[in-house]
Symmetry: C2
Amino acid sequence: MAKAAASRPGESHTPTMVDVALRAGVSTMTVSRALKEGSRVSKATREKIMTAVNDLGYVLDQSAGSLSSRKTGFVAAIVPSINNSNFADTARGITDELESTGLQLLLGYTDYTVEKEEQLIEAMLRRRPEGIILTGGAHTDRARRLLKSAGIPVVETWELPAKPIDQVVGFSNEEAMGLLVKTLAKRGYRKFGYIGGTTSRDTRGSQRREGFVRAIDELGLPTGRLVSFGVPPISIEQGGQAVVSMLERWPDTQAVLCVSDLSAFGALMECKRRGMRVPQDIAIAGFGDYEVAAFCHPGITTVNVDCYGIGQQAARRLIQVIRGDEKRHGQEIVLTGYRVVEREST
Amino acid sequence: MAKAAASRPGESHTPTMVDVALRAGVSTMTVSRALKEGSRVSKATREKIMTAVNDLGYVLDQSAGSLSSRKTGFVAAIVPSINNSNFADTARGITDELESTGLQLLLGYTDYTVEKEEQLIEAMLRRRPEGIILTGGAHTDRARRLLKSAGIPVVETWELPAKPIDQVVGFSNEEAMGLLVKTLAKRGYRKFGYIGGTTSRDTRGSQRREGFVRAIDELGLPTGRLVSFGVPPISIEQGGQAVVSMLERWPDTQAVLCVSDLSAFGALMECKRRGMRVPQDIAIAGFGDYEVAAFCHPGITTVNVDCYGIGQQAARRLIQVIRGDEKRHGQEIVLTGYRVVEREST
DNA sequence: CAAAGGCATGTTATCGATACCAAATCAACA
DNA sequence: TGTTGATTTGGTATCGATAACATGCCTTTG
């Protein structure tokens, strides 16, 4: 039977598949098939349908489609911040990897709090994503429960959680920072300082600090030079303020390691502003290998992390699990690489 | 009648509203009301329902809900790149503004091409967003047609399109760059050079260049010092290479204006690397007021744009139009401010 | 030439929620 | 105590598409 909408051609409304079907003289099922690639529809019919689609300006309604096919075509990803270029790179890696699959990304950011993460997870699960990518391994209990009962693959990234939920794509922030310390110690530096944020909101930041402390301990170097400044993620400006505070308390510090390149850059610029020579008077290193670290003068020694690759691999892993639906793959931990990049600042 | 799913309690499946209704001993309609704030359900009933919801770990299925309510709760936003901190700020402005309304953001990026924009627009329209925010005023014809027939409010941002589709929240890139030229000219600079990308993909970049050329003309200053380097958006590194090329061709250039702060930063660092004094030997200015411009040494003179505010206001405008559904507001153009920020690099 | 099989297309029954209207319950008051 | 009006709850149809199955046509082959 003709739908009311179709029988009132004068009325302007968003066309549905029924309108297309009527116009092309076929059934909605045939239209549905014609619009989904990989299904067999005769060339002539397909052309008729495409003409109708163009004439009407019809656009498929995926909300309706996913209700009956039980596949939404969504993948959710939650990052601490999209203003941080590291996570923006990860988001881009995810999107690029998803592009060819027809999956669409639902992106949200937590501002580094697990409470907001929980809210986001719930909001996104309402959209029935086919998989979800998280940053880090710290989540509220309720968030864990929601994820468990959602029955979809979960990938935690950017860390190696002690108690992973499902899949993991990341690296040890502790070890990475430790490697940086050791690399610089080998170069002769002995009095190391560390600059980071004030709270543990940023779990990756905390892990880096732990890695720093542990490495210093292991090497038997002077300990205790830790400056906490600002709520994570700390900014360029706060990096500058922190290094001032560091030099006031421990004027003989030889090398300052920062939780991120942004704070390292701030520290570097502040030192230059004060007429200090870097690295002769003080060496500075960061973490993350932001573009700015490579091209500022002097270039900043840092730890390069494959941000884009983390996103790519997380998405890839997710797709594998989604595709291989039945024989649900077991948990897997993908280690992504990191490497110390030595530049002129040390 | 009891659904099959509900009658097989042993089977693990994602619970639906029917499951909740059965467990709470009410109808699905009442469950639906209890989960939607602002509807009247007695306290006792609501508690029973909430208990059932928690016991089952039920999460509302919004795809199903939006099909019947004809409201998806989505807003789409398309930006050139999420790795660019200016657009990331805009995205954050949008998200923050949407948060209290319960609308969710569908974010996509075009990599600065209208073709990818067209694809994205179509992909997003399939999700039936209630409104859409675009960057710039350059779109393919098909994209314009799709947007028109979608019948949803559209906000174009970051520019003042000659032929707006609907709403606009932006500023004149041409005028903004012109203001920068005039400000520096007043300070005595006369030989200006301009650094930008090679193609017109980045329409805002093109407009800035035009603004530069026009201002130079109007002031009767030496013209022609234009260096195009790299595919937009040009990077820090390319800014450095471009300034080298500029100085080779026009060694007496006094002030170099760059399409963005990133290229300006690259130019600045390259000059310092070559032992030039900034601004004594050469002045450098950028556009966008990125964080790096404020805190590098010397600080970079630039044009501050209210990126976050653009996002906020675009979202706000969209919400107004969506809310005031019937009496569809007319087209409106919201001008966002910009201002020249003078720092030590000029 | 009839049977078998492949391909194109149609029919019907959902997917999970909400809109709309009807019914039931409750409180208040004459 | 019966009536009125407000509030809470339920029944049913429907949103727009697709899965699953059914049908019909055409080609192939013994």
